[in-house]
Every structure is written in structure tokens, then in C-alpha cells.
């Protein structure tokens, strides 16, 4: 008789615990994505100044500059889905990398205090962005483990929690930078 009461009680407690931990993990993922978003916005704020500084010395690099500006404007737009944010920012990372290589050809530009400051700020946000991305990936891995592992996967199935994508580093970041290619584009 007693057993008949205890077993369902234990099951309910277990279910509530699993459910809560799943929700907690999902929120951790969203929270981590939030910090990626913040860093992306910070970087977008830097780009107009950077473009202006480069323009002074390297006016005929306008192709590269326009590409960066266009991507920046797209990335800075409101109402982007997470996937779009990730994709646009990956492209932006690549374009900025290209710009920084181009800049190597302009010693007067690089010598300027203003530009040096901007470059530091850009390095800073890139480093912060990479940290935010790694935090996001850690949160997603934790969440995915919960969603796929027994017994939490049963509960996850009921409340329609599915695997989330990791924020992969852009393909270009992983392969070695082909400097010659960057100068052509």
C-alpha cells in the first residue's frame, strides 16, 4: 500500500527535477547567446571609425572598405535571427581580417596613434567575441548532452526540446589565411 504511494511521488519529484534542469540549461544557452550579441554590436560600433581612419591613408582600397561597411550595416540591423547573426558576423570577421592585412601596406596609417588605438580596440572585441562564442558552445554542449542522454531525453522529447547548433568558427578562420587571396579580393 505504502509502496503504491511512494513510487509515483518519487517519479514526480524526479520529473520536476529533470524538467527544471532542462529549462535551466536552455536559458543558459540563451543567456550565452546574449553575450555574443553584445560583443557583435560592440564590434559594429567600432567599424565606422576604423573605416574612416583607413580611408584617410588608403583611399584606393575602397572595394575592401565598402565590403566591410556593407556587412557591418547588415550585421547591425535589428531583428536578426540567431543564425543570421552568426553567419553575418562570421563574414564580418573574415572581411575585417582581410582589411587588417591590406593595412599592412600603409606604414603611415599604422604609425598613427589613432589607428593604433582602434586596432587595440578591435583586437579586444575579437578576443571578447571569441570568449563569448566559447561560452555559448560550452552552454550548448551541456544542453545537448541533457537533451540526448537518458533519462532527460524522455522529458526533452515531451516538451519539444531539440539539439542546438554549436557556433562553429567561420570556415575561413580555421584554414590558414591565404594572404595572396586576401589582396585580390
Amino acid at each position: 500500500m505504502f509502496i503504491i504511494l511512494i513510487v509515483p511521488a518519487v517519479l514526480i519529484v524526479l520529473l520536476v527535477w529533470i524538467y527544471n534542469s532542462l529549462v535551466g540549461k536552455k536559458n543558459a544557452v540563451e543567456n550565452a547567446f546574449g553575450s555574443i550579441d553584445v560583443m557583435c554590436k560592440k564590434r559594429c560600433d567600432l567599424i565606422p571609425n576604423l573605416v574612416a581612419a583607413v580611408k584617410q591613408y588608403a583611399a584606393h582600397e575602397s572595394g575592401t572598405l565598402e565590403k566591410v561597411t556593407a556587412l557591418r550595416n547588415q550585421a547591425a540591423a535589428e531583428n536578426l535571427s540567431p543564425d543570421e547573426t552568426i553567419q553575418l558576423n562570421n563574414q564580418l570577421t573574415h572581411a575585417l581580417g582581410g582589411l587588417m592585412v591590406t593595412v599592412e601596406a600603409y606604414p603611415e596609417l599604422k604609425a598613427g596613434e589613432n589607428f593604433a588605438q582602434l586596432q587595440r580596440a578591435l583586437n579586444e572585441t575579437e578576443e571578447q567575441l571569441s570568449a563569448a562564442r566559447r561560452t555559448f558552445n560550452a552552454a550548448v554542449t551541456d544542453y545537448n548532452n541533457a537533451v540526448e542522454m537518458f533519462p532527460a531525453n524522455l522529458v526533452a522529447g515531451i516538451i519539444h526540446y531539440t539539439r542546438r547548433q554549436l557556433f562553429e568558427a567561420a570556415e575561413q578562420e580555421r584554414t590558414n589565411v591565404d594572404v595572396g587571396q586576401l589582396f585580390k579580393s
Binding site: 550565452a32 553575450s35 586596432q119 587595440r120 580596440a121 583586437n123 579586444e124 578576443e127 571578447q128 571569441s130 570568449a131 563569448a132 566559447r134 561560452t135 558552445n137 560550452a138 554542449t141 551541456d142
Partner: protein, 317 residues
Amino acid sequence: MTDRPAFEHFFKTELLPVLRPLEEQRLALVKKIIITGGLIAAAGLLLAAFLIANSVDLRILLFPAVGGFALGAFLIKRMSSEYIFGFKTLIVEPVIQYVSPGLTYVPASGIPEIRFIASGIFRHRIDRFRHEDLIQGTVGKTPIKFCELHAEYKTGGKNQTWKTIFKGQFFIADFNKHFKGRTFVLPDTAEQMLGRFGQKLQEIGKSHGELVQLEDPEFEREFAAYSTDQVEARYILSPSLMRRMLEFKNKTGEKVYFSFTGGEVNIGISSAKNRFEPRLFSTVLDVDLVREFVADLQMALDVVDDLNLNTRIWTKK
């Protein structure tokens, strides 16, 4: 800086003239110690003979024996302190100037207890705190200071004994990135022994902050990272810094503790070795002894390069 001919030249011209009088001082000191020891031993033997002659229980001898040893140790320490101090100022100081001019050396000082506690690495109550051999200065662009220190606590109850919290070299260096929170990287004992279950245990030990799970499996095996801020912890612990910390740990072969607080990195390397100490019972006119000092110092200063602290490409200059 430490190439052989230059070093030998430095040893011959700068150190040998100072070492010779020190060697004489050492020989005189050894003589004094032997005489003192002999006197104490003779007194002990006389006492023993007297007791045996009066057929008293010999177990009583234990007390004067212990007392004699303690007295001997105390006298040796007192007699040699002047010699040790002279040695440190006359020999260690020039060696440090030779390796890296601009560093300052204070033999009898160290990192204050309050700074050691502020590093947050060790949370135990400290009952006895000793430090020596403070070296400070700027290496490249990085201000750094380090010393040898020994922090202990006393166990309660009847059998009070001193237990070590930390003994070894302790560093405080300026970190090359700005941060606000507190991040700790400590030797991981739980995960090494218990695997995934150990990870659960780490989560329970939250006194240092939230557990930060990092991507580098080798790093995760050796260390456990805790922080008040998950993103900031990863900002500090970039993949390349994690690699460097691992290599640094393997190089020292000791337990290594890191904490990142107040814009600085605190590093504790536990070690039983007492660095920059003179020898008492063998000659100091020995180039290898000085060479060992140089190597010890170089290893300590290498922390800056090992952790890449001179790379200042972020907003902190």
C-alpha cells in the same frame, strides 16, 4: 645574458673578490659551530656519566638530550644569520643585477600576507606566515614581483602540529588584459581520480565561484577553473594561454595555482626547495652554486614569457 664565457668573466671579476672573504667567514663559522657542538656533546656525556655513576634511571636523559639539540640548533641559527645575510646581499644581489638589471632584491622581505590572502587561492585560516627573498621589477612591459613564502595553520586539539597551506614561490604579475571578476585555475585532483563523477564534485566545491568547463581536454585533466563570470573567464583563458599554462605546469613539474584578480595574475608554484641560500658545510668558491642561482632566477623571470604577458595588443597597455 647567460652565455658561458661572459658568465665566467662575471664570476671571476665581480664575485670571486667578494666570495673569498665570505669563504673565510664561513670557515670561521664552521669552526665555531663544531666547537659549540662539541661543548654541548661533552656536557651531555658528563651528565650521562654522572647519572650512570649514581645509577639513576637513564630514561631521564631524554630531556637534556632534546634540550641540547634545541640549544644547538638555536645557536647555529643565530651564529649563521649574519653570514647568510652577508651572503645574500653580497652575492645574490649582484647575480640578480647581472641577470636582469633593474630588478630590486630584498632578502628579508616578501609579498605581504594580505596580498597572499587577496589572491583568493587559499582559503584556509593562516596561523603562521613567513616569506623571504623578495624580487621585484619590470620584465619587458610587465611589472612583476615574487618571493618564497610558507603559510601554515595549527591543528587544534591535544596534538597541535603545524600543517602547510602553501610553500613555494609566489608571483604577482600585471596581466595583459582588463577584467573585473575573479577567476581561479587550480590543480584538479578530483577529476584526475574520479573522472565525470569528479566533475560533479567540482561543481559542489563552489567557494571559488562557478565551475568553468573549458574545451581543452588536457587542460581540464590538470586544472579546474572557477570564475565569477563565465565569459570573462574564457576571455582571460584563451586557448593559447591554456596551452601555455599547461606547458608551464609541465616544465615546473610541481603543483601550480593561478588566480586572476584585480587586473593581476597570481601564481603559486609549490616547491620544497629553498632558493638563494648559501651553503654552510661546503665551499662557496664554486661557480656551479652561482650558476644554480642564475638558473633559478631565470626560471622565475621566464614566467612572463611563458605566459606571454608582454603581448599587449589589447586595450590594456
